[in-house]
């Protein structure tokens, strides 16, 4: 047997480093520790300076069930910082994992969690509530009405796309993508029209909604986001194998014993729920869903059994870091978080495109 000899200098580039598995074993504790450290940092930092001792004291008392409602510091730690941190963790994980799922479904590393119409549907519903609801719905709308409408809009958009792309019992991923683009354009047109008829205040509402922010986090929002998040986490161990098989093609995945149609439906449903809930609660936050899976693929390789749980750790870490910056850098004002994630994400993304070796253009 003559073996293909690879020049030593090039070998490292085209070899999957055999220590991928070892890296995964090392990376998980590192990510977990980083997330824990960021959480501690985030709970300790804020425009209002609270001594670490007091924070620990507040947390311990809260754990003991002591009523601290009269303390301003306790209110800040327990009702402002803590729900916001949890929201960042949940949304970061939702977006990163959904991004990885969409990239596998579309077999394209540039797919974004909103690609199946989630963002378009949510934005359209939000614009509708802000502009039309303002005129025709009576009285004061509860704060929850906009997130609920956005969530419903996201799910309806995904459902429409899924029905369009499904013929017989088979969903065409290519149709899903194309119909998604068409639906996005249509939603954009309607949003454009709503922007046209909107007044000054509605415009401002629209703009700030679409920028995305974790501000206004409450325990209610955390509670509302928990079910889709838990569903996603529970589903993760059952998806890795199927997604790996899907990476070499739908037919091949079927040959390997994967129920492809069921897998596709599950991926779409999970990503729609998780992304829809996240967009509804915090607006559109870009790049977490693309950058996190990409970064992890570079380190761990594409094996979804490691990739998905790693996304569920790095996504929260990135979003928590960005949000802590968002609420402290310009205090007392807040930077829109989309600016920070995209500000970190876009240059990284360009670098990624530039260093991509030839032959990886799938």
């Amino acid at each position: 047997m003559t073996r293909v000899s690879v020049p030593a200098s090039r070998a490292w580039r085209i070899r999957a480093r055999p220590e991928r598995r070892l890296r995964a074993i090392l990376l998980f504790p590192v990510l977990a520790v980083a997330l824990a450290a960021l959480t501690i940092l985030a709970i300790g930092r804020g425009p209002l300076v609270i001594a670490p001792v007091d924070i620990i004291d507040i947390l311990v008392r809260a754990a003991q069930g002591v009523d601290q409602s009269s303390s301003r510091e306790a209110l800040v730690v327990l009702d402002i910082r803590l729900p916001r941190i949890l929201l960042a963790v949940v949304i970061g994980a939702n977006l990163a994992v959904s991004g990885a799922l969409m990239q596998s479904l579309f077999r394209n590393p540039l797919a974004d969690p909103g690609i199946i119409g989630v963002s378009a549907g949510a934005a359209l519903a939000a614009a509708g509530v802000i502009v039309v609801g303002d005129k025709y719905l009576p009285g004061a709308l509860p704060f929850a009405s906009l997130p609920i409408a956005a969530f419903a809009g996201a799910l309806i958009a995904v459902l429409i796309l899924y029905l369009i792309a499904t013929r017989g019992r088979e969903t065409s991923v290519a149709t899903l993508l194309l119909a998604g683009i068409a639906l996005g354009a249509l939603a954009g047109a309607i949003i454009g029209f709503l922007t046209f008829v909107a007044d000054d205040r509605q415009l401002r509402d629209l703009t700030f909604w679409s920028l995305g922010s974790l501000g206004g986090a409450t325990w209610d929002k955390v509670a509302a986001l928990t079910p889709p998040f838990v569903l996603l986490l529970v589903a993760l161990p059952f998806l890795g194998r199927g997604l790996n098989a899907l990476s070499i093609g739908e037919a091949e995945a079927f040959y390997l014993g994967i129920s492809v149609q069921r897998l596709k439906a599950a991926i779409v449903a999970l990503a729609a729920l998780a992304t829809g809930a996240s967009v509804a609660a915090a607006g559109i936050i870009g790049f977490v869903g693309i950058v996190v899976p990409q970064l992890l693929r570079l380190v761990l390789g594409p094996d979804h059994r490691f990739l998905l749980p790693a996304c569920a750790l790095l996504g929260p870490a990135l979003l928590l870091a960005a949000d802590t910056c968002a609420r402290t850098l310009a205090a007392p004002a807040e930077l829109p978080i989309g600016i920070l994630t995209a500000g970190i994400g876009a240059p990284f993304f360009l670098w990624l495109l530039l260093r991509r070796p030839a032959g990886f253009d799938t």
Binding site: R84, R204, F208, G216
Partner: protein, 291 residues
């Protein structure tokens, strides 16, 4: 919004406006025809109505919400930041009066190129600015006498406000919320019309650490300890109870005393003829005891 700009710029603009209007007037002398004015900006429309010049208005923009029948009676040329040039031209105006922030610049340039006289009115968030604005609009609409009377009334109104403000001891801490979608407050910082109104009404803007309208951090709101919340009453604003339940507001003095003022947007931030009255309203809300 650029905030209160220096008086020099205001004076310069005044001159430019006068120049362009003198050109328009010389044309009017040759063929004496009625003025046809398009007003682009809510306060401009309001002022023209207050001067009794509404018969000269042939078009208004979507922000012309006062008096309420203005938008019903007059053709609408669109939103003042994105008005339609063709819509304006189709009304065959002899004069366009536009707010400083009207636009887009290309549309204004197009209007100029089509030989329509344009006057741009600067946004000046001061008492003097309002009086000057009234006089300028009056001059442009050939109603100098009415304008002088109105400016006098407005000036008197501001004096009364000033007199009341002088009696105030201690300063009420005010947070002005311009938007509150999904429970995320967007707050007026310094260099805004809202900031100017708070100042005129004797309050202290607790968000003066930043400029413009920005989202404010929840715990910063709590730390700022506002005594009163001011909002715009337009649209479906959240109820007081909803706002004071939010963690950011729960422990503020405003929540403790349920102090929240909601006023119409144009009334509150238009800097037009009704502004002294709006200041009075705010002042009464900030300092209930001060007569």
């Amino acid at each position: 919004m650029t905030g209160s700009k220096c008086f020099l710029r205001w004076a310069a603009l005044f001159c430019v406006a006068l120049l362009s209007i003198s050109a328009a007037r010389s044309a009017a002398v040759k063929a004496p025809a009625a003025q046809r004015i398009v007003a682009i900006g809510g306060a401009i429309t309001e002022t023209l109505y207050a001067l009794g010049q509404e018969q000269k208005i042939v078009g208004v923009d979507t922000t012309s919400l006062y008096p309420p029948h203005a938008l019903r009676d007059k053709p609408n040329v669109g939103y003042f930041r994105a008005f339609s040039v063709e819509g304006v031209l189709s009304l065959k105006p002899t004069l366009v009066i536009a707010a400083e922030s009207a636009g887009p610049p290309d549309s204004l340039k197009l209007l100029q190129d089509s030989k329509v006289a344009i006057a741009r009115l600067p946004d000046a968030f001061t008492a003097a600015g309002v009086e000057a604005k009234i006089k300028l609009i009056g001059h442009l609409a050939q109603a100098d006498a009415a304008a002088a009377t109105l400016a006098e009334t407005v000036s008197r109104g501001f004096s009364e406000v000033n007199a009341r403000r002088a009696k105030v001891s201690g300063r009420t801490r005010v947070l002005f919320i311009i938007a509150m979608q999904s429970g995320r407050p967007i707050v007026a910082g310094r260099s805004t019309a809202a900031d100017a109104m708070i100042g005129l009404a004797g309050g202290l803007n607790v968000a003066a650490d930043f400029s413009g309208y920005k989202p404010m951090n929840d715990e910063s709101i709590l730390a700022a300890a506002p005594d009163v919340i001011v909002m715009m009453a337009n649209g479906n604003r959240p109820s007081n109870a909803q706002i004071f339940q939010l963690p950011a507001f729960k422990a503020t003095p405003a929540a403790a005393h349920q102090r929240l003022v909601a006023l119409d947007g144009l009334y509150l931030l238009g800097f037009g003829p009704r502004t002294p009255q709006a200041c009075e309203d705010l002042l009464s809300a900030f300092y209930p005891g001060v007569k």
